[in-house]
């Protein structure tokens, strides 16, 4: 998909160049640096506008190759020089003008047109000098050299007006900005998708491994209920992997119904219990009724899964003499109790924290906290942005606080991180 888009970017520039080339009296070309190579776009209609001097020199043996080499070299130099406007003489004695297209003050492309006006004596001398060098380089006969000199004299100064060229430059600059932004977004999306896929496959890996080991432990040939179940888990997990690979954004329609928040929390705990056990982190929970809320069940389950999984993931590993806990506490919002307008849920863990200036950022798509940088590279940075969106769709709020703790037994500096979710009982 990425490749197709890159090709369409190139096609877009080519199409734009065609339109411009058809409407200007001189040949025009676009040069871009791609992987330290210069890429040239010269529309066919521009080639048809080459002056007879160009056509003549290209008709001599080696002339065409030298033209190509010279054009690319001059474009490379102009891009490196980072000058907005420059005029230079080609190897055959014809002046070109070029304008730089910049993105964020950096050269992005070079727009070059032939037919820069030769007005000064110095320019004329330079043009003639280049012409003589070209004659020598190509090893032309006297007659060929004379013919070439005549064609150089016959060049009529034709040019694009300064305003006209500025307008063309502006169109290309705007287009380049758009293309560059699209490319950046595309790369970001690809990176996030890759990390998401990694995260899912990793969780599935644990399921598949446990199920496969269970199948192997049951004697060969013996078909028991346990073996059937293990095989079923194994197969389901493997089919889920296929689904996960095709996963896009979570776009299911919200359907609000009264559900037990307690049941949803319990289900999430069950899902991640094995993961917590492997890390020797105990999940403690206590939800005070009433906890029947009007929610979109699948969405909220998804949000809770994300929050509980994060709490486990960023917890420090438990030790024999140092038990770790994740606390999930819920109660009707005290301010409105006993009327019961909001329910408040707190999920607390102890481990890798969030810096205060990241409290807002952490809910942005693709964001990863600074403190997680050295520890967990594989998080998608997407989960909490989904969680926030889901909570807000429920007309609720989510906040986070992460407070540094002092603990001599901790392997690194621990933080007590708490997500506080407020959900209304009713969506009316």
């Amino acid at each position: 998909m990425a490749k197709k888009t890159v090709n369409s970017h190139q096609e877009f520039f080519r199409a734009l160049m065609e339109i411009v080339a058809e409407n200007v009296p001189v040949p025009i070309g676009l040069y871009q640096t791609k992987n330290s190579e210069i890429e040239e776009v010269i529309p066919e209609s521009s080639r048809a506008k080459y002056v007879s001097h160009c056509n003549l020199i290209q008709s001599f043996n080696g002339g065409k190759q030298q033209c190509q080499k010279d054009q690319l070299e001059r474009a490379k130099n102009s891009l490196a020089a980072n000058k907005d406007l420059s005029q230079d003489c080609c190897w055959a004695g014809i002046y070109n003008e070029s304008r730089l297209i910049k993105i964020d003050r950096k050269p992005f492309a070079l727009l070059v047109y032939g037919g820069g006006k030769v007005t000064t004596t110095v320019d004329k001398q330079e043009s003639l000098r280049k012409h003589e060098e070209a004659v020598k380089l190509l090893g032309l006969t006297e007659e060929q050299a004379r013919e070439l000199r005549n064609s150089l004299r016959e060049i009529n100064d034709s040019s694009i007006s300064k305003d006209g060229f500025l307008k063309i430059q502006k169109v290309f600059t705007n287009a380049s900005h758009l293309i560059s932004e699209l490319e950046e977004r595309q790369n970001q999306a690809k990176y996030i998708a890759e990390r998401n896929s990694h995260e899912i496959a990793t969780r599935l890996q644990a399921v598949i491994a446990e199920a496969d080991n269970l199948v192997s432990q049951i004697n060969v040939g013996e078909i028991t209920e346990a073996k059937r179940t293990a095989l079923s888990v194994l197969n389901s997990a493997e089919s889920l992997n296929t689904v996960a690979q095709n996963l896009g954004n979570y776009l299911e329609t919200y359907r609000f119904r009264r559900e037990s928040l307690n049941s949803l929390v319990l289900k999430s705990i069950k899902t991640y219990e094995a993961e917590a056990n492997r890390k020797e982190v105990q999940i403690r929970y206590n939800l005070i009724p009433p906890y029947d809320l009007e929610v979109s069940k699948n969405h909220l389950q998804y949000a809770l899964n994300n929050l509980i999984q994060n709490a486990i993931k960023y917890s420090f590993r438990g030790k024999k003499d140092h038990q770790r806990f994740i606390n999930i506490k819920g109660q009707p919002e005290p301010r409105f109790y006993p009327e019961g307008r909001f329910y408040r849920l707190k999920i607390t863990n102890y481990g890798v924290g969030i810096l205060p200036d990241e409290y807002e950022e952490i809910f942005k798509d693709g964001f990863q906290g600074q403190l997680t940088e050295n520890e967990y590279r594989t998080g998608s940075g997407k989960g909490l942005s989904f969680v926030k969106r889901i909570i807000e769709e429920h007309n609720g709020t989510i906040e986070v606080e992460s407070i540094p703790q002092s603990d001599d037994k901790a392997e690194r500096k621990p933080y007590l991180t708490r997500f506080i979710i407020r959900l209304p009982y009713s969506q009316k």
Binding site: E194, Q205, A209, N374, R377, T378
Partner: protein
């Protein structure tokens, strides 16, 4: 003497169930969690019989940033700078043709895409060892 396999993998919670059949078969499996630890344990990597290598790896506190695919860059460093020739099997989620080509240039004995069945992983590991024993 039992063969030693080093698995460079940061998702420690998948390691135990995945290596269960390998351990049961008598292989010694050691885990390295990040690129920093790997760079510090060059002697172990050199003496190991096989390295299983993940592509997404954390650098570890104070470690060197190995870029977009730290596992690939680590392998490049092991092969090019440290002359470590231990057989490597890449165990990854990323199915990227370009990356595969680059990995193959660094001489690897296979790429396994996660999630993998542990029984399948054991089969592949056995095959790699048989291949080297036959040489």
């Amino acid at each position: 003497m039992s063969k030693t396999i080093i698995w460079i993998e940061d998702d420690y919670d998948i390691i135990e169930p995945v290596i269960y059949p390998l351990r049961k078969a008598g292989y010694k499996v050691i885990n390295i969690e990040n690129t920093k630890e790997a760079v510090e344990k060059l002697a172990e990597l050199k003496n190991a019989d096989l390295i299983l290598l993940d592509m997404f790896l954390p650098k570890g506190s104070g470690g060197k940033n190995f870029g977009e695919y730290p596992g690939y860059m680590l392998l490049k460093e092991l092969r090019d700078d440290c002359q470590i020739t231990t057989p490597v099997v890449v165990l990854t989620v990323i199915s990227n043709g370009e990356l595969r080509t680059e990995l193959e240039k660094l001489v690897i004995d296979g790429i396994i895409y996660k999630p993998v069945r542990p029984s399948k992983l054991k089969e592949i590991v056995d095959e790699v060892f048989q291949k080297y024993e036959a040489k």
